[in-house]
Every structure is written in structure tokens, then in C-alpha cells.
């Protein structure tokens, strides 16, 4: 009888999963109106680049001095809330849900995986922060949810390239290279 052995070594070192589709909004607002828009959205919008705020299922990430990314479950009624304060606090709120996909990267070797193509010192990145950076020249947003738990938002058009690089790095780490 033929026998087969499935090599499963280090399979748990890295997990790469697709996150469920989510609502993603790009918010641009001048610092003077930040609090007003934040209150309307029910969020305390952080002022420092890389900081995150969370209210229930809704997360806000400060990407730049006047730019925030808001991630929420699909269907969250955030646009209506923001529209209500538009006259007093002019801002731009753009739905970019379909621009990106989110990969969930986790496992003990996840820092090695990301270091294969990301120049930033991710070991020094605080848990609970996030950053826009590059992954082999593709712009990505990395959210650090735990010491070995990341989310990566990557533009759809770059996704095949990023996925193939991740798969290659994953195979190399699994092989002990």
C-alpha cells in the first residue's frame, strides 16, 4: 500500500489568512475640526501619527496630521453621522472599502516574515499601534494587534505580488532558511 507523509513542520510558525470584508473610510479633516468630527463618529480621534482609538467595533488610526483611517464592520452608519456635522466641521470622508484587502498575519515567526520585505523595525513597533509603510515598494498599512499578530491592509492591485512574496518567505522560514 502506498503511504504518504504530509510534511507539516513549522506549519504553525506563520498563519496567513484573509480577513472578512470590512468598511474602510478615509477621513481628512483639519486639526481644528478633529474633535467635532470625532464626536459625531463616536471616536476620540488620536492626534499622533500611528496611534489608534477604538469604540466598540470601530477603529480609527491616525495616518497623518490631518488624515485618519476608520475601519468598521460593513454597514456601520458612519457616513450619515459625519454628514450631520459637515456644515460646522468641513471634512472629506471617502469610502475606500474595496480599494484594499486585509490579510491577517500571525504566529511566532511573523516578525521574520514581515522583515523579509518591510524595511521598518517592526519589533520596536508598539502593540496596539499601526503604521503606513512599504512592503517591497507596495504601500501597506500594518496594524499590530498583538506581539505576534498583525493585520496588513494592501491595495487590491498589489495583492497578488504581496501574496506571492509572503508565500515565498513563509516557505523559506518553514524550511529553516
Amino acid at each position: 500500500m502506498m503511504t504518504s507523509q504530509k510534511h507539516d513542520f513549522a506549519a504553525a510558525a506563520i498563519r496567513i489568512e484573509d480577513a472578512a470584508p470590512a468598511l474602510r473610510l478615509s477621513l481628512r479633516v483639519k486639526p481644528a475640526h478633529r474633535d467635532a468630527v470625532g464626536r459625531a463618529l463616536g471616536l476620540d480621534l488620536p492626534a499622533r501619527v500611528g496611534q489608534r482609538a477604538q469604540a466598540g467595533d470601530i477603529q480609527a488610526l491616525c495616518l497623518g496630521p490631518d488624515e485618519w483611517l476608520i475601519a468598521a464592520p460593513e454597514g456601520a452608519p458612519l457616513a450619515d453621522a459625519a454628514r450631520a456635522v459637515y456644515a460646522d466641521a468641513p471634512h472629506s470622508l471617502v469610502d475606500i472599502s474595496d480599494r484594499e484587502i486585509t490579510l491577517r498575519l500571525s504566529g511566532p515567526a511573523v516578525l521574520d516574515l514581515l522583515a523579509a520585505c518591510c524595511p521598518r523595525n517592526l519589533a520596536a513597533m508598539a502593540v496596539g499601534s499601526a503604521a503606513r509603510t512599504v512592503f517591497d515598494s507596495a504601500t501597506v498599512i500594518l496594524w499590530r494587534d498583538g506581539p505576534a499578530d498583525f493585520r496588513m491592509d494592501v491595495w487590491r492591485s498589489f495583492a497578488p505580488h504581496v501574496r506571492s512574496l509572503l508565500a515565498q518567505a513563509q516557505a523559506e522560514i518553514a524550511a529553516g532558511l
Binding site: R48, G64, E67, P119, R120, N121, A131, R132, T133, V134
Partner: protein, 97 residues
């Protein structure tokens, strides 16, 4: 890897996140149509081409902001970086840092 200090992120981050964006402190003429051809040419094309400390603009992909930097074109060392819109920093203080 060369680390560049982003004045908006207040952190020193790898060079690969940054893009060079030409010489800094070149103000667009308020009334371009009043300029002679030579003045317009100078505004568009004529640059310092410094050997040594050079005022230049860079963009950080992380925060999406342009900022100014003084970089030594010989050693590639960044002497300082500061936010866009701030006045030109004097050289003497920075070189001593």
C-alpha cells in the same frame, strides 16, 4: 539602512519609506505672466546643484507629508529635517550638531 527623521511622525524611519522631491524653498512667482522668459526659465529649471549641504524636499509615505531637509550631497548625511512651510534653517547651527 539610512534612517531619515520625519518631523511629522517624530521618528527616524528607513529611507525606503521616503521619496526625494527636489530642491526646497523655491517659491512659485505670485504673478507668472509678469515674468520674463529668463526669469521663468530660472524658476522652472535652474537649481543650486550644491556640493555639500543642500536644502531639499522629501515626502514620507507613512504620513503622506512633504517636509524639508538639509542633506550633505557628498556624505549623504541628513543634517536636519523640518516641517514644510517653516523658514529656511540656518546652516551653521545644524552642521555643528
Amino acid at each position: 539602512m539610512l534612517l531619515i527623521h520625519c518631523p511629522y511622525c517624530e521618528d527616524s524611519l528607513p529611507e525606503l519609506e521616503f521619496t526625494y522631491a527636489g530642491e526646497a524653498h523655491i517659491a512659485r512667482p505670485a504673478d507668472p505672466s509678469a515674468l520674463s522668459d529668463e526669469e521663468w526659465r530660472d524658476f522652472l529649471f535652474i537649481r543650486t546643484n550644491a556640493r555639500g549641504p543642500h536644502y531639499e524636499r522629501w515626502r514620507h509615505i507613512g504620513c503622506g507629508r512633504f517636509f524639508n531637509a538639509i542633506r550633505d550631497t557628498v556624505s549623504d548625511r541628513f543634517l536636519t529635517t523640518y516641517k514644510a512651510g517653516e523658514p529656511r534653517r540656518p546652516l551653521t547651527n545644524e552642521a555643528a550638531e
